[in-house]
Subunit: 339 residues, 2 copies
């Protein structure tokens, strides 16, 4: 059974996932992705747990070929759907059962097609799958947060090349999310303005960190980018919840995602990256000053290219060292000529 | 000129270091360390900036062969020693000049000798170099924190194989340090007991996470280890300051370091790791409730083997997923038969 343990020196929760365990002598790490046949192609549906969602425009049967996007529980889950939380103390240590969700969103049946190479209409199907899973999981009263993310390439932690994203739903609010919500709330309390809107307005004045924008989304390299060529995608409409997006916004978001990731690929020769979707916690508003979060926090996406190592200084301090200014990275990506 | 920029969404400082910049097209990352001749061997002293400290038992001249440990400014520094802080605002963004220290501690003139393969007496010379640099830099009133760390192996961010550590002195207190100090203080305020002492006492009762101990130091796999085979080295004597150690304690610490790192090597076939030394901030006590820190915080060392990837979930949430329980890792390392 997986479990959460709280570090008494940082108050951060760590997930222990024995299902992902290999024996100690197996820890001879390889940084190459496996070259075996993908378990995510048509005909290999039996190689994953049964699907919890699929986009099937042809009316094909569940767990059979014919899907465009397919969501399945992770075969080596970090957390388990079944069970009670059983919050507990062991002396000075805090402990919770590893209850939660861990799912894989298979973005295409084509093992060699990256997300950004898909037509905008197909990327929309992926975004609809994200939304459907968030809406479904938000009914589970044990969950407090859903982290949607994508690991692309071995240096970003991907063990399979086949394009996929993941979500992990947790019964605790992770420290970084809590800190971000508190920063946004403090800003709103002081200024009575939304910090994301203020950032967009300031970035629009100089435009030297802007990478791309369309009617609904604004893409830029953040002022304090932790990593070279880091990008943020902000919606222009205020909403704390990713799942509030309609089909028109998803079409604009698919366009912005495609434009951003293609620029990254052409600038840096297809780098490894992590994509992180930050949306408001589940049941956050009930517990914390009611509807305030709907004004102070805005859902958004971070794209973190993995070009520099996360080393002793970063782990020790939580601070990052970035050798490239975001103005330089943005200029480079704005000037990319897409084929 | 390097600079600090504060992320308005997290309040975390990021260091921008153009001296470490390569051109965008150079970002084709290799994960292998360079195979060229080490700049840190005898006769190559001219390849580094002039030394700021050296252990020379033979009375040899500065920047010449004969040293046992040598400390030099980093040739590609993240921060610069010269200049004023010039704290400033650009619209809603905060900015500080990149003033600070970035030094390399060369642990041996032997390019192929890892730290833990050195005799205890030689490791003591390395620890004395750490102490001498912390004491010297603490006189610089612009600095608030000194992070000592060691990156071993390419997956841990090391660009050279030759055994070395680094220190970075910063004019801001990094977020993770601040959070840790606050956790320790909160515990002390609630219980009137030191959290590190309580952890040692609890670990001694079960001993299932203990790896090694000697008269002055206690080595164990923390209850909420973020990474497989993570270890912490705690001094048994209460002190917030690493540089309060005397020669006898350094000899015990060298023994504990050697025992821990050798066990890690033999368990996991010489894995990449980060070693992080947490000591109290400079001038922390003056600014924050005077001498309280001397009771509530204790300096300590973290050893983080780099066996699992830091991926989208970890960057998004700040939480870690660990497939190995610390009880299992500690048992494995206790049972190692050192040759």
């Amino acid at each position: 059974m997986p479990e959460f343990r709280k570090d008494p020196l940082s108050s951060e929760w760590v997930i222990f996932a024995p299902e992902r365990r290999r024996r100690p002598q197996d820890f001879k790490v390889s940084r190459e992705t496996a070259a075996t046949e993908s378990p995510f192609i048509y005909g290999n549906e039996h190689m994953t747990p049964p699907e919890v969602y699929a986009c099937r425009l042809d009316g094909s049967a569940p767990n059979k070929p014919g899907w465009k996007v397919r969501v399945v529980p992770n075969r080596y889950p970090a957390l388990r759907v079944e069970g009670d939380l059983n919050k507990d103390a062991w002396g000075l240590y805090d402990h919770i059962n590893g209850v939660g969700a861990h799912e894989v969103i298979i973005e295409t049946p084509d093992a060699s097609l990256p997300l950004e190479a898909q037509p905008v209409g197909d990327i929309v199907h992926v975004l609809e799958a994200f939304k459907a899973r968030v809406v479904d999981l938000s009914r589970d009263s044990r969950l407090r947060y859903i982290q949607l993310f994508k690991n692309h390439g071995p240096l970003a932690g991907a063990s399979l090349q086949h394009a996929h994203s993941q979500l992990i739903g947790t019964p605790v609010l992770p420290s970084r999310i809590k800190n971000k919500l508190e920063c946004c709330r403090l800003y709103y309390t002081q200024k009575e303005r939304n910090i994301f809107e203020d950032i967009i307005q300031q970035e629009k004045r100089t435009r030297d960190r802007v990478v791309y924008e369309n009617n609904s989304f604004f893409v830029f390299c953040p002022y304090a980018s932790r990593m070279p060529f880091e990008m943020a995608i902000l919606p222009k409409r205020q909403s704390p919840d990713f799942h509030s997006c309609d089909i028109h916004e998803f079409s604009q978001l698919a366009d912005a995602l495609k434009a951003s990731l293609l620029r990254l690929n052409y600038s840096l020769d297809n780098p490894c990256y992590n994509l992180i979707l930050h949306t408001a916690p589940l049941r956050w508003s009930k517990k914390n000053l009611s509807n305030m979060v709907s004004e102070d926090f805005r859902w958004h996406i971070e794209i973190l290219p993995r070009l520099t190592a996360h080393a002793g200084f970063e782990f020790g301090t939580g601070s990052f060292i970035n050798p490239i200014l975001p103005e330089e990275a943005a200029k480079h990506m704005r000037n990319v000529r897409l084929p």
